[in-house]
């Protein structure tokens, strides 16, 4: 779909300025990083230094600060590495920073002839911009604890293969899944063969509220509108969308919360038409499965948004979680639980919830009558 072709060009938002090496004339410090992987142990990044550190004054306490940047795209275009929690972040910034004490330094040149480990960093403390093989530049800076003048510094490069998605990946995934949600919503809307005006408006409203334009310019906003209109006209001219493929992509890239948001929007959209056809209900049921939304969440959302009386078919599995493999006793217990839940809602102050509860109680009783022997 044309709409899917929009690609966020937000990468520059994340870029750091290019690096300039700090100038510390008297010290000659080398640094290196080694990945220590021992069986049964959490892998650690060992930060090591060697060389000379020149201090002009006695420093009874010194500290070492380690920061990192992702220079996979070159030192001209570094990307930040974030700390996964406040403990591993620079003050007032998300950027990774590890600080530890180094001990006493006399007012002379201290030489470390061998590689000395000064810190062991759990890779989980780092949030990389991207997953996969990343070139990381670690910057080590040694300074007095009370006198923050830097006495030595060093940079080293390490290639780390990150298994988890980076924060840019995650951001892109969120944006991508929102775009896919819109595509999916059009599929739900058009499930009965035509796109209704009010459903289109609902989708557009959702897209405007949720999809970030590339920037705040009118041009960027118009780009979204154009993409929406193009998608509508493509669907109206007979093109179809493979809902399963769209869902599977969302399931692959989106968090569970985002996937349930997608399902929720699709359900709301289906409800907005007043009645839900057999085809639409079947599609929604498939969407819930393809998106791999937790079964209990599916039931909660379906019960909250749809009511059996607006659906052309009353599906026990979708509304109540009755699975075909359940025996009579399991079904009975499940229905009793559902009845207990809805029975306490029939006296709700909100007339809509009261109506919904009354409808659910009728539906549960009918289901029991059919399935429990």
């Amino acid at each position: 779909m044309y709409f899917e072709k929009i690609r966020s060009r937000f990468l520059q938002k994340f870029r750091l300025g290019s690096f300039t090496q700090p100038f510390v004339p008297s010290s000659a410090l080398d640094s290196s990083v080694e990945l220590k992987e021992e069986k049964g142990q959490t892998p650690l990044l060992a930060i090591k230094i060697r060389g000379s550190i020149h201090s002009s004054v006695d420093l009874p306490r010194t500290s070492v600060q380690i920061t990192a940047a992702d220079i996979t795209d070159g030192t001209e275009n570094p990307l930040p590495v974030r700390g996964s929690s406040k403990q591993w972040q620079l003050p007032d910034s998300l950027r990774f920073c590890f600080v530890t004490e180094l001990g006493t330094l006399p007012a002379s040149i201290t030489t470390l002839a061998d590689w000395t480990t000064i810190a062991q960093i759990d890779p989980l403390w780092l949030q990389l911009p991207r997953s996969g093989k990343r070139t990381l530049q670690f910057s080590i800076s040694i300074s007095g604890f009370d006198n923050p003048v830097e006495v030595a510094s060093s940079d080293c490069v390490f290639i780390y293969d990150s298994p988890s998605p980076g924060f840019i990946d995650l951001h892109e995934n969120i944006e991508r899944s929102k775009i896919l949600t819109v595509t999916l919503a059009f599929t739900v809307s058009g499930a009965d063969g035509s796109l209704s005006g009010c459903e289109i408006e609902m989708i557009k409203k959702w897209a405007r509220r949720n999809i970030d334009p590339v920037d705040d310019s009118d041009k960027a906003k118009k780009q979204i509108e154009r993409a929406l209109n193009k998608t509508i006209s493509l669907l109206r001219s007979g093109n179809t969308v493979n809902a399963e493929k769209v869902c599977l992509e969302i399931a692959k890239i989106a968090s569970p919360a985002l996937r349930s948001d997608t399902l929720e929007f699709c359900l709301q959209l289906a409800r907005s038409g007043g009645t839900v056809s057999r085809t639409k209900l079947s599609l929604l049921k498939n969407i819930a499965g393809w998106l791999e939304v937790d079964k209990n969440i599916v039931i909660t959302l379906v019960q909250k948004i749809l009511t059996p009386d607006i659906c052309e078919v009353q599906d026990e599995q979708f509304f109540l979680g009755v699975r075909p493999d359940m025996d009579s006793e399991e079904t009975r217990l499940l229905l009793n639980e559902q009845y207990k839940k809805w029975s306490s809602r029939v006296t709700n102050f909100d007339p809509q919830i009261r109506r919904q509860a009354a409808g659910m109680l009728r539906f549960i009783a009918q289901t029991r009558n059919l399935l429990v022997k």
């Binding site: 009845y339 029975s343 809602r345 029939v346 709700n348 919830i353 009728r362 009783a365 009558n369």
Partner: protein, 523 residues
């Protein structure tokens, strides 16, 4: 018993039913007795008719029931189902009538009819379904006050039934009370040792009663007529009113016979209609499934198996249907007990409850005969609903604050009861706390009722996470007290549970309306 001029104040119990109501008084030795109405009937139909020809008179009872065929727009039935619903109003002659006011007319009729000779009905206990919430309970009390009654208490219908059974027949063990009335169904499980009664739990459905079975018959009649004569059987409200009663007759006949016969009169002619009990039972199977579910849920809550129930007591006119007894026999393996009149046991039990309430609250107002008759009865009731408050804890999965309802007092806790939970302020410098008292079983705030909201002022300049201790207690009179304490400052907010939501009148409003009701002619 106090003497008020020539009239003697009499303690009474009232069954304010969906289809029928009745009143019982306590006699000199503390035994309950039904008092017939002015038509000599022991049961009064809960029907109201605003007579346009005699505008000063409001008809209640059998005459109102008959009049509704003539002008259904001026008649009201099944008002109990609307109790507590602020949106329900009946507009007549430029006046709007609320469910409380309409119920008060039924109560006034009972009171006036029974206040004859040297007797005056004043102190009463009115029965309500066990599952009625606080709003509906308060609405029922308000209706009693409007009718000029001193409502000393409210009793759950199954409890009233059990009280009457236990004081009439020898009852021991785990007892299940099956109360299928005109408009509601309740199931209560009790542990009874003679006149020592402990409620274990209750479940109920306020939209499941005799009228729902009648409606099924009406549906069958309509489709039969349409199939046979190709026309609608019901075209006007008058026709509907008449056929509703005919459907009820068919249901009653099917309780005695295998087949009920009726002539259906419609605009396209008349036709003979026959309904076999088996067909009726198939049609009402979904309704019976609802009852089965509630029975099972009650048993689960009581942690009992059907085989551990010693006796099933029936209450409510609809429990006469053979399908009820057949299903109970199948579930429990024995026949339910029908030793007392199922239409009257609720008001008779409510009268006993009224006596017990006065023994506790004002024993000097009672004769030694009544005290002697009731002194050995002990009843432990339970909390009918769960009560909680809205809080905003941090969700462990997402790390975000989520707004949720946290239950403090759980449903079916024996009374009196008290429970305390500690909550924490959410923001630094928080100087105010919104306090919601909720009723309902859900965690999701949208599914519970906020029954009252207050504000607790807090000292300034404090960090977040300051503890707030919340204590709810519920006494034997089914009144709730809530206590909110800011632990550090000792600042306290106490809420004695009084409903002031729309649809529940304030005390001065009730008193003012009660004066106007005194002048109404209800016959």
């Amino acid at each position: 018993m106090s003497n008020n001029g020539s009239k003697i104040d009499t303690i009474a119990g009232i069954d304010l039913g969906t289809t029928f109501s009745s009143l019982a008084i306590l006699n000199a030795i503390g035994r309950p007795e039904i008092v017939p109405n002015s038509e000599g009937e022991r049961l009064t139909p809960s029907a109201i008719f605003f007579d346009e020809e005699s505008s000063g008179i409001i008809r209640v009872g059998i005459e109102a029931l008959h009049c509704r065929y003539l002008n259904p727009q001026r008649s009201v039935r099944w008002i109990k189902r609307q109790m507590g619903d602020a949106s329900y109003k009946k507009f007549l002659d430029g006046k709007e009538w609320s469910p409380v006011e309409l119920s008060a007319l039924i109560l006034k009729k009972l009171k006036d009819d029974c206040s004859v000779d040297n007797r005056q009905i004043r102190d009463v206990v009115i029965s309500v379904p066990a599952h009625f919430d606080e709003i509906r309970r308060k609405a029922t009390m308000d209706a009693g006050t409007l009718a000029g009654l001193n409502v000393v208490g409210i009793v759950n219908e199954p409890v009233a039934t059990a009280l009457y059974y236990a004081t009439t027949c020898p009852v021991y063990g785990k007892i299940l009370i099956y109360d299928l009335g005109g408009g509601t169904f309740d199931v209560t499980i009790m542990d009874v040792k003679g006149t020592d009664m402990n409620i274990i739990c209750s479940q109920g459905d306020h939209e499941l009663g005799g009228i729902d079975f009648d409606r099924k018959i009406l549906e069958i009649m309509r489709s039969f007529y349409k199939d046979k004569l190709g026309a609608e059987l019901i075209n006007t409200e008058e026709e509907r009113a008449k056929l509703e009663d005919e459907a009820e007759d068919v249901k009653k006949t099917l309780s005695r016979r295998d087949v009920a016969k009726q002539i259906l009169y419609g605009r396209s002619g008349s036709t003979k209609f026959e309904l076999a009990r088996q067909v009726f039972e198939e049609a009402v199977a979904p309704l019976m499934s609802r009852i089965d579910i509630l029975l099972e849920v009650a048993l689960e809550e009581a942690k009992l198996k059907p085989s551990q129930i010693d006796k099933v007591l029936l209450s409510g006119g609809s429990s006469r249907m053979p399908i009820v007894q057949k299903r109970l026999r199948k579930m429990f393996g024995f026949d339910p007990d029908v030793a007392v009149n199922v239409d009257e046991c609720v008001s008779l039990g409510a009268a006993i409850h009224a006596g017990m309430t006065l023994i506790r609250d004002n024993p000097l107002a009672l004769s030694t005969g009544i005290i002697g008759g009731l002194k050995n009865i002990r009843l432990t009731d339970v909390c009918n609903h769960s009560y909680g408050t809205i809080c905003a804890p941090i969700d462990k999965k997402s790390g975000k604050r989520v707004v949720e309802n946290r239950i403090i007092l759980r449903k079916n806790t024996p009374l009196p009861c008290q429970a305390t939970k500690t909550f924490y302020t959410v923001a630094e410098g928080q100087t105010e706390l919104e306090i919601n008292i909720t009723q309902g079983e859900d965690t999701a705030p949208e599914y519970v009722n906020k029954i009252t909201t207050h504000k607790l002022q807090l000292p300034p300049n404090r960090p977040a996470e300051c503890p707030i201790k919340v204590t709810y207690s519920y006494d034997v009179n089914q009144r709730m007290h809530c206590f909110f304490e800011d632990v550090q400052s000792g600042s306290v907010l106490e809420v004695d549970f009084a409903l002031d939501r729309q649809g529940n009148m304030k005390q001065n409003e009730i008193e003012e309306k009660a004066k106007r009701f005194e002048t109404l002619k209800v016959q």
